[in-house]
């Protein structure tokens, strides 16, 4: 797909005015990751109320696709419970972005925040909740790209 299709108004809007941009005091999940190819950086903070997401924020530096997708992801999981969060996948992100066939280099930009979140959730459920059947999350994250 061409640039005119990729960089539509909605992506530029999320890039320039990211929703849920910032940090949370004493978050339950705090995780950062980067994409060495691009140098994109994402840090995600999540605060739970019971098993529901009470607040989620991100900070980062990077291309429009990586930053817009991170912002959209935070909106997607706000208020969701852990189980629903686990079900958020690659297609949900690409659908929100309105991008169907990004090239192999740029798909990593789109999925960096999801990968980061899944790894954060993995640490959270294993370390804090003592749930040990969480290997699936880690495996899923590593398979994203």
């Amino acid at each position: 797909m061409g640039s005119a299709d990729i960089y539509r108004e909605i992506i530029l809007d999320y890039y320039r005015n990211p929703r849920n941009f910032g940090k949370i005091d004493s978050p339950d999940i705090s995780i950062s990751d980067s994409n060495p190819l691009c140098g994109d950086e994402i840090e995600i903070h999540v605060k739970f109320d019971g098993d529901k997401v009470k607040d989620v924020k991100f900070t980062g530096k990077g291309c429009a696709i990586s930053q817009a997708s991170a912002s959209m992801l935070t909106e997607m999981i706000m208020g969701k419970n852990l189980e629903d969060m686990k079900n958020v996948g690659k297609d949900d992100i690409l659908e929100s972005l309105g991008l169907s066939n990004l090239g192999p280099a740029r798909i990593k930009c789109a999925l960096l925040s999801l990968k980061t979140l899944k790894l954060g959730m993995y640490s959270y459920v294993v370390e804090k909740l003592g749930i040990t059947d969480a290997e699936k999350l880690k495996e899923e994250a590593s398979k994203l790209f």
Partner: protein, 414 residues
């Protein structure tokens, strides 16, 4: 119009098969990532092909005809490379790339000569390849890694070096001759002169300079120099360490095994003469031969002409690019102090988004941190876009670049 009095550009371009290919939606390739790696002329490609087709054999050992031809071609390449930088034949060590050349010095020389509280001096302009080996060495030896700072134009603050040299425990200065991010050309002669007063050896990272400007190691008088074949029309997988004979004689080998020995007994070994003492195992014969042909190609053009032509392109590109609305160009505007590359940002467009848009127009540029993250931190940017030129680039290609930048500006509504 193409200026043809320096280089016959159309004839030269016809030597590069890749320049005729189409990319993306049938767009002509505009290759502007030459600081990363250059394209190869047909003469280099054929030289590698011919070695495998007609005289593939191992070098230095066997007496049959094929081995003799292969050895002559391999050693002939060494002689031409030596002449290219005004070195002696035995001062040219073939390695995999400039990174390995720097590591060879860090291991074979650094680990014997740098001790506790000694200093190794580099600059804020360095590529990761001239940072990380020195971090490892100084950490291991409890020595100090010191940086020469740069000013807002990207030029070295040489007073930092002079002050450090006063401290008397500087064991090595390792410095890039041309920045791969800002294009700054470093006055290495001046640096070496100052270091020699204190008997401090200097390693020059010449990965970006040897391909683009005339370099004379005797004139610079450095102790070591590192560069790569693939950034100067040659194949990947070949690099060069130049070192003064006195160092090569004294240093212990970095990698040991076959071909670098004279005699091996059960418990002791006599090293081969230099340069072979540093070339253990079967080397990259085909690509060294290809590199020799790349050197011939550049020698035929003349490095003064390469420099002059690139200056002309760079001046043209700078003049045009600074008129793009929202552009920010990094580094000095003084053509004499910079090589043929330009780093920039356009408005708030992230370099990766920009290179995606340019790629649609067939224009290949580099975006990212250019393996120089400390410098990126200093410039306070996450990444930049970089265009870098070589002898086959044209002003028409720069025009295409400018048109594509204007298109990006429209897409991002800047």
């Amino acid at each position: 119009m193409i200026k043809t009095n320096i280089i016959d550009i159309q004839k030269l371009r016809s030597d590069f098969p890749i320049l005729t290919r189409k990319v993306r939606d049938n767009k002509s390739l505009v290759y502007l990532d030459n600081a990363s790696t250059t394209q190869k002329p047909i003469q280099v490609i054929e030289a590698i092909h011919n070695y495998y087709m007609y005289y593939n054999a191992n070098i230095h050992r066997a007496v049959y005809q094929l081995a003799e031809e292969a050895t002559n071609a391999y050693e002939g390449a060494r002689e031409r490379i030596a002449k290219f930088i005004n070195a002696d034949r035995e001062e040219i060590i073939f390695v995999r790339n400039a990174t390995e050349a720097i590591n060879l010095v860090a291991y074979a020389w650094g680990r014997k000569n740098v001790g506790k509280d000694d200093r190794v001096v580099i600059s804020e302009l360095e590529h990761h390849s001239n940072i990380v080996p020195w971090q490892l060495l100084t950490q291991e030896k409890n020595a100090k890694l010191e940086y020469i700072r740069i000013d807002s134009d990207g030029l070295l603050i040489l007073d930092d070096l002079y002050n450090l040299l006063e401290k008397n425990n500087v064991k090595l200065v390792s410095i890039s001759q041309m920045s791969n991010v800002l294009g700054t050309i470093i006055p290495v002669d001046k640096i070496v002169k100052a270091c020699h007063i204190k008997n401090v050896p200097v390693l020059i990272d010449a990965a970006q300079s040897v391909p683009h400007i005339p370099v004379d190691v005797k004139k610079i008088d450095c102790s070591f120099m590192a560069f790569s074949a693939h950034k100067m029309l040659g194949p990947t997988g070949v690099g060069v360490l130049y070192a003064k004979k006195e160092y090569l004689e004294k240093m212990q080998p970095f990698i040991s095994g076959g071909d670098m020995i004279k005699e091996v007994h059960k418990y002791e070994t006599r090293w081969n003469d230099i340069p072979w003492k540093y070339e253990a195992g079967t080397p990259n014969i085909a690509d060294v031969i290809g590199y020799g042909v790349a050197i011939d190609y550049l020698t035929n053009i003349g490095m003064d002409n390469v420099r002059e032509y690139e200056n002309e392109l760079t001046r043209y590109a700078l003049d045009r690019i600074i008129n793009v609305k929202g552009i920010h160009v990094y580094g000095t505007r003084d053509i004499e102090k910079r090589g043929g590359l330009i780093s920039f940002n356009l408005g708030d467009i992230h370099p990766h988004d920009l290179s995606t848009i340019l790629d649609e127009d067939g224009i290949a540029i580099r975006s990212g941190h250019h393996c120089a993250q400390p410098l990126m931190e200093l410039l306070d940017v996450a990444a930049t876009s970089r265009v870098s030129f070589y002898i086959y680039n044209t002003k028409e290609e720069i025009d295409s670049l400018i048109n594509s930048l204007e298109r990006a500006r429209v897409i991002f509504r800047i």
